[in-house]
């Protein structure tokens, strides 16, 4: 049974994929662009790959340029995430996502966070502000 939640468009696009949850903030520069594996020391996703995932995390972090630099390299190598679901949009992450054409949403209800699990298949429809957990 699928469940649908409302959300708010940050960067346009519609895509489906598998969820990967991060409780820590995220810096795309500290991901190996060749593999999509997180290399940040002490990060909760250290050693895991974000390639083709729908990445769920609280907020971006890192200098004003490294998010775009990191995202761009991941995009070029095809090891980037499919979409992002965030809680706290910041200018750096938002501008980088818009420029790199990566779908991103925010303002997701608490319910979603209570139900979503690693490995869930979900559909992110930023254009219509909808998130669907499919399985």
């Amino acid at each position: 049974m699928s469940e649908t939640y409302a959300c708010h468009k940050v960067s346009e696009g519609v895509i489906e994929g598998e969820v990967l949850l991060s409780t820590d903030d995220f810096c795309f520069y500290l991901v190996d662009p060749k593999t999509g594996i997180v290399i940040e020391k002490n990060h909760c996703l250290e050693g895991q790959s974000i390639a083709d995932k729908i990445l769920v995390f609280p907020s971006g972090k890192g200098s004003s340029v490294v998010q775009a630099d990191g995202m761009y390299q991941l995009k070029m190598s095809g090891k980037g995430p499919k979409a992002l679901i965030i809680k706290y949009p910041d200018t750096v992450l938002v501008a980088s996502s818009i420029i790199m054409e990566l779908p991103v949403v925010d303002r997701v209800p608490k319910d979603f966070y209570e139900h979503v699990k690693n490995g869930n298949q979900i559909r992110v429809d930023a254009d219509h502000g909808q998130l669907t957990i499919q399985s």
């Binding site: 520069y29 971006g60 972090k61 490294v66 775009a68 070029m76 200018t91």
Partner: protein, 401 residues
């Protein structure tokens, strides 16, 4: 979003394709943050990075005919001519830095190649609306000067430089500049290095709120404030802080919280600082080099290092990264000569996160900057993090204990 006639014309392409792209991105940004309109900016700073995305974006705009209405100062890439003298720069890296310089020149940037423009060349007045990218810059602009900027990305700041506008939201608005969490500093913060650790320790406890520091010294150095902001905005996402009795929008606690109560109070102890220090430093042992200037050292910091190495010999190579203006002053004042006599050097127009340092990959250095250690992880450079005095001592012994 309500646009003026001129802004609408930029969006419609009347001022060329490049300006249109920039305005389009800014309108999308404004919509995400519910900005009602655009406002004019009088200063901008672009965190040029000389990396693929940076070059791709600036060349895209240049090729589309964009030029800057408000010429931005720009961050460093690397000093090609300097590094060609001391190491081998690949053809590819040489091409990239040449193209980066050319593209920013064509778009009308002011080629400062310095990450601390707020200390020289791009200094705002209180209340001025600006668009600054660069993680050490945004907190300094907001907190120390009381001028206003959002935490711009390099690309959104470049868009602002082109259109001369930025969407009105976030830290441009009075109510969002209010302090939210009271940070009671119980640790003994006595030198510039302690501000690095404080900046790195706070974000985990803070959770996206604006901190108001109490119980800090009332006369911090510019370097201390630069360090605090750089680390707050590296370990977390903190474009503004208040220090009661120090920063202009925090003359009193009431002032900092705009009359409201703090949402939370957190305490930072000496243990917190020691713990974060232990977490971020690589293990002690033999070192191959010392590297300072992330963010770029100011003249006082250069003088401090020169004084420490005066008449002595360093066992490992030492570099201080700084602006070309500071290097010129350091040359005039004899600091450069002192440093070179000891086996060190000053390099201008250069960032630590650049391919010019390839000859240090896989090696271990000592630095005073957690930010330096954090970003060079990708370049397989190891760093023991210590205060400046201890770094110099280590550089003379070739080892950190």
């Amino acid at each position: 979003m309500q646009l003026t006639v001129e802004e609408q014309e930029m969006l419609d392409g009347k001022y060329g394709k490049g300006t249109q792209i920039a305005m389009k991105i800014q309108v999308a940004l404004g919509e995400v943050f519910d900005a009602p309109k655009m406002v004019q900016v009088s200063r901008t700073h672009v965190a040029l990075s000389n990396q693929e995305a940076d070059l791709w974006f600036v060349e895209k705009l240049v090729n589309a005919g964009a030029t800057c209405r408000v010429s931005p100062t720009v961050n460093p890439g690397f000093n090609l001519e300097y590094f060609q003298c001391i190491t081998t720069i690949s053809k590819e890296d040489e091409q990239t830095i040449r193209r980066t310089r050319q593209a920013y020149k064509e778009i009308g940037a002011t080629l400062t190649f310095d990450c601390t423009p707020y200390l020289e060349k791009n200094v705002p007045r209180f209340g001025e609306i600006t668009a600054f990218s660069e993680s050490s810059a945004t907190p300094f602009i907001n907190s120390v000067y009381g001028a206003r900027t959002n935490r711009e990305s390099a690309q959104s700041a470049l868009c602002a430089a082109i259109t001369g506008r930025t969407p009105l939201y976030g830290f441009l608005l009075d109510e969002n500049r209010k302090g939210q969490v009271l940070v009671d500093v119980q640790a003994d913060v006595k030198n510039d290095f302690d501000y690095q650790l404080l900046g790195y320790a706070v974000p985990k406890k803070l959770q996206f709120k604006t901190p108001v520091f109490v119980n800090l010294p009332t006369n911090p150095s510019p370097a201390a404030l630069m360090n605090l902001g750089a680390q707050l905005n590296t370990a977390g996402n903190v474009p503004m802080y208040h220090i009661v009795g120090v920063t202009p929008e925090a003359r009193t606690i009431e002032d900092a919280f705009q009359g409201d109560e703090p949402e939370r109070i957190i305490t930072i102890t000496q243990e917190d600082l020691d713990q974060v220090h232990a977490e971020i430093t690589d293990p002690v042992g033999k070192i191959d080099f010392a590297l300072f200037g992330c963010p770029h050292f100011n003249l006082n910091q250069v003088a401090q290092v020169a004084e420490l190495v005066k008449g002595k010999k360093l066992k490992v190579k030492l570099w201080i990264m700084t602006s070309s203006l500071t290097k010129e002053l350091a040359t005039r004042m004899g600091y450069l000569e002192t440093l070179q006599a000891a086996g060190g050097d000053i390099v201008d127009d250069t960032c630590m996160d650049q391919p010019c340092w390839e000859f240090l990959y896989g090696k271990k250095g000592v630095t005073d900057s957690p930010k330096c250690a954090y970003y060079t992880k990708r370049r397989n450079m190891q760093f023991v993090i210590r205060k400046v005095e201890d770094c110099i001592e280590a550089a003379m012994r070739g080892e950190v204990s």
